[in-house]
């Protein structure tokens, strides 16, 4: 119990540190949003003080001491008030994030779970049949696919399946002629749009799970208790799953927990290639348009969700491996 309370305290402390870091980061960097806007304006001629004040007021550049800014910021974080987006004015940051989140959660979430389950099982098989073709094929293709840059796999699929053979839609999450909601035509259309991004993420993430599980299990296969179990004449499936795999799955489980936390951040590069309106694409747009309120809110949300996942994984670790509790 003490272990969990301590973890909880640490979690709260880390969350506070992350929130504070998100506050400090833009203030540590040279320049401000107003500076960037004024730099663009000054290309057309000199900018006077009144224009500057107007730009700063329009962009909501914070006034007052850093401490009072920090206090306001903490209040805004608690009430989820992240202000108004620069690029999508007058939409609020919260509404923009709210409309992007469902697409990312469904697409990236489902693919992450599928990749973990398939990859881990293949990894177990590969480690158990180490040195055979059953090992070489998945580990070689897995590591080759994992080495592909996400965006390049996405570009290739887009080029061949999207443009050359016209099998799937090339951009967006649904066609403009469908009405979003729980109706047949929309769902079918959304699935068709999700196929290419989903296949991209699955192909590129599968190798990591296979290799992770295989390498960890090869470590446990060298342990005495596995040799002992084999010498005892236990069925090989029992040895592989109950002895070797069970002790080797911890690192993969850690990675899975963190990957689930990362789902909220979406898959930026893939979403960018397919113009898929998820969180990653929103962040990309915020960055390229220097939309600071949107960028800051997204970055905070992505960081905090990974943080929560990390906390859950740490807690599970304590349950699964009592040795770490000491």
């Amino acid at each position: 119990m003490r272990y969990f309370l301590r973890r909880l305290g640490l979690f709260a402390l880390t969350a506070w540190a992350a929130i504070t870091l998100n506050f400090l980061l833009p203030r540590l960097m040279p320049g401000s949003p107003a500076d960037a806007a004024i730099a663009r304006l000054s290309q057309n001629g000199p900018v006077d003080a009144a224009t500057r004040a107007a730009v700063e007021a329009q962009l909501g550049v914070p006034t007052g001491s850093v401490l009072s800014q920090y206090w306001d910021y903490l209040g805004n974080v608690v009430t989820l008030d992240f202000g108004v987006s620069y690029t999508f004015f007058p939409s609020t940051v919260a509404s923009l994030v709210g409309s992007a989140l469902p697409f990312t959660l469904v697409l990236v979430g489902l693919v992450t779970v599928a990749a973990f389950v398939i990859g881990t099982l293949v990894g177990v098989l590969a480690a158990w049949r180490r040195g055979t073709r059953l090992d070489a094929l998945p580990t070689l293709t897995g590591s080759f696919l994992a080495a592909f840059p996400y965006f390049w796999t996405a570009l290739l699929l887009l080029f061949f399946l999207g443009y050359t053979f016209r099998l799937f839609p090339t951009s967006g999450a649904y066609s403009p002629y469908t009405t979003p909601g729980l109706n047949g035509p929309f769902l079918a259309d959304a699935v068709a749009h999700a196929v290419l991004p989903a296949v991209t993420i699955l192909l590129t993430s599968l190798g990591g799970w296979i290799l992770g599980m295989r390498n960890a299990m090869i470590g446990t296969l060298g342990e005495d208790y596995v040799t002992f179990a084999e010498a005892n004449g236990l069925r090989s499936r029992t040895v592989a799953l109950r002895y070797a795999a069970r002790n080797a799955i911890l690192p993969n489980l850690t990675g899975f927990g963190l990957a689930l936390g990362g789902v909220v951040g979406g898959s930026l590069l893939v979403e960018q290639v397919f113009a898929y309106p998820g969180v990653g694409y929103l962040l990309y747009n915020a960055v390229t348009n220097q939309d600071y309120p949107l960028m800051q809110a997204l970055f905070l949300m992505i960081t905090l969700s990974v943080l929560v996942a990390n906390f859950v994984v740490d807690t599970l670790y304590g349950i699964l491996d009592p040795r770490t509790r000491r």
């Binding site: 640490l10 960097m29 590591s143 996400y150 290739l156 080029f159 970055f299 992505i302």
Partner: protein, 321 residues
């Protein structure tokens, strides 16, 4: 080798041997220890004996050679742009030309330099940090471990790509050193965490307890007793970090957040997408840079397979002969 000396003794034993005291030399060291160069060549031989690793080393050597000899191999300069625009493959330009009239083959050849540089520098730096942090963090108990835990968690929770592009957005103009810096900043924590878990499970082993009771100092227990057992994990975390750095660099360049005037495989894809190479069907321009990134990254992963056998002889390929 300076920080570990400050580690508290985890066993709580009071006996601190003064440095250089005669009895500090453990009597149970193998007397006929092979010279260091023999250990290195034997390790290299172990990796080379693995067929996958040999393939990886050959591919890696090929790219290193291309990068070093780039001015000799490339038919033109990487930024020479006085050729026909967007031309298909021909005798003069085997890979065709870009929409800006540059020779694609020359750009691919020179692009190897950036990827290798970023991969090896960022990979080595983040592995160094990961080893120092991970091993001491896994070995010590008490408040110091909690502080390290806190700092590492903070770095772990910050997702790499979003952090990189957010910093790039704030800085507006990021060069290669900035990319390396951010890759190391976000990359070391993973390795540190893996090494810490392994250290935690090793620190309770009998040989560690024996080393502690024989009065070895903490840094020696950590770096001479525990570290050699993790050679393969450290080596694989280096190759993993280098792969991640190469892919991160290409991703940032592809998004146009790096220096877009510098010729790297990532910026080639950035310009390819921006000049609609997808629509005009210039598939070589699309295929070549990405394939190079993938091949280089794969060669590093392949070397990793040979590394498995370093610390566990039973995993060596063909050791059953």
């Amino acid at each position: 080798m300076t920080t570990p000396t400050t580690l508290p003794d985890p066993g709580g034993s009071e006996s601190e041997h003064p440095a250089g005291a005669p009895d500090a030399a453990p009597p149970d060291l193998p007397t006929a220890a092979p010279p260091r160069w023999r250990v290195v060549t034997r390790g290299a031989g172990t990796v080379w004996a693995n067929r996958k690793a040999r393939l990886g080393l050959l591919v890696l050597a090929f790219f290193v050679l291309v990068a070093v000899l780039a001015p000799v191999i490339a038919p033109y300069g990487p930024t020479a742009n006085d050729f026909a625009r967007g031309a298909g493959p021909s005798a003069a330009h085997p890979f065709g030309t870009t929409a800006a009239g540059e020779d694609v083959l020359s750009q691919v050849v020179f692009g190897a330099r950036i990827s290798l540089l970023v991969g090896f520098v960022a990979g080595a730096l983040s592995t160094l940090v990961a080893v120092l942090v991970g091993l001491s963090w896994g070995y010590v108990r008490g408040p110091l471990a909690e502080v390290v835990n806190f700092v590492t968690n903070l770095f772990l929770v910050i997702p790499g790509l979003p952090l990189m592009i957010v910093i790039a957005a704030y800085l507006q103009n990021s060069g290669l050193d900035m990319i390396i810096f951010v890759v190391v900043l976000t990359g070391w924590a993973w390795g540190a965490r893996v090494l810490r878990s392994q250290t935690q499970s090793l620190r309770g082993r009998d040989f560690v307890t024996a080393a502690q009771f024989s009065g070895e100092r903490s840094w020696r227990v950590v770096f001479r007793e525990i570290l050699p057992n993790m050679t393969s994990i450290i080596a694989s975390s280096f190759f993993g970090a280098a792969t991640a750095a190469i892919i991160a660099e290409s991703g940032l360049s592809f998004l146009g957040l790096g220096d877009t005037t510098q010729v790297s495989w990532g910026t080639m894809l950035f310009w390819a997408q921006n000049s609609n190479a997808l629509l005009t069907g210039q598939w070589v321009l699309l295929l070549a840079p990405g394939l190079c990134i993938a091949l280089l990254a794969t060669s590093l992963s392949l070397v990793n397979f040979g590394v498995d056998g370093l610390s566990n002889p039973r995993l060596r390929e063909g050791s059953g002969r």
